[in-house]
Subunit: 204 residues, 2 copies
């Protein structure tokens, strides 16, 4: 592809929106550690974001506080956009997570400056809310962001846990928001942790 092939519309605002749309196609090239369920390859950020957006329509009943599903869906579709420039930081990568916040802030500056200002601010606010995990909608979206790869791991023989560095305590820490905000689903997670350790998919 050549972005130089882009034909300007004559309306600067529309051009920005179309070019931003083209730019975020790069989400398809940001690979995660999660394996697709057909085992063919690792999932990318576009696929993951879509997957949890659909989940947002289905799991609100397990949240301990009322959730605005439509806001959560929107948060899900934009929550990883900064990774276009900041890259995906593996949840269990201790070193990579040290400067994650700073890398993502700089990425957000760069990404959202490409949109008309009030639209950049809107998408950025959704991401910041997600990242802060303080509102009910953000906690719900964060839970889905944890449950989806967890489900994948239970169906791919613990694929992403087999790096030799991930143990039960690390997964429990990552799943803490689910434990607190969606305890019914957490009971299922806990049973899976027990089994995964018994089978040898995850270190105790």
């Amino acid at each position: 592809m050549a972005i130089s092939d882009f034909l300007a519309s004559g309306i600067e605002r529309l051009d920005r929106q179309l070019l931003f749309t083209a730019e975020i196609d790069k989400m398809t090239t940001v690979l995660r550690r999660t394996r697709l369920l057909d085992g063919s390859r690792c999932e990318n950020d576009a696929e993951h974001s879509w997957h949890i957006a659909v989940m947002a329509l289905l799991f609100a009943e397990y949240a301990i506080e009322p959730v605005d599903v439509s806001r959560a869906v929107q948060m899900c579709v934009v929550h990883d956009l900064v990774e276009i420039y900041a890259g995906d930081t593996f949840a269990y990568d201790v070193v990579g997570n040290r400067d994650k916040a700073e890398r993502e802030r700089l990425a957000a500056d760069r990404l959202y400056a490409q949109l008309p200002p009030e639209q950049g601010a809107l998408l950025r606010a959704l991401w910041e809310e997600f990242d802060a995990m303080e509102t009910a909608d953000a906690k719900y979206a964060a839970c889905l962001d944890r449950i989806q790869p967890f489900l994948h791991n239970t169906l791919t023989e613990g694929y992403t846990w087999r790096d030799g560095k991930t143990d039960r305590a690390a997964v429990e820490k990552r799943m803490a928001v689910v434990r607190a905000f969606m305890p019914t689903v957490y009971a299922w997670i806990e049973a899976n942790l027990d089994r995964s350790i018994a089978i040898g998919w995850l270190r105790a």
Copy 2:
């Protein structure tokens, strides 16, 4: 993967929701004709659905009627789910489009039966509304569903138009909803059609 590895939660409703979540991962294997912008491969339905869901947050100002953006985003994330069983029907495939409606209806029966009934009905209603293209929200989502692959084509030298069967009239027919519902964007489409024919990316 083995879906037989799924550990039941003891709550039938939750199991259905989790298994449905696993099932729709198959969207990552439904390939479209659209090329990713890095040229590496064809886009899949999960990526496409995510992409137009983000667009739904950005382009409502060009719709000739007020649009409920949050409903449109939801419609975008579910609009192609039936293709898990019905497959993607190329927009310019005349034969494939003859029995598309019937194939997709059967696919919807099969897919949505896997969810708790009221959730299956909710997702199906969103898809049916999208497909009927009668409400403003559905027309808006349908426009995005056309604009996104069109944008990709303009940035990949008309990749999907090079099947020898697609001509300007076919693309114009496909873009009719944009012409009617988002005329400002359609002006940009028309200019691109002129250029694409001049360059030889599209047959006149």
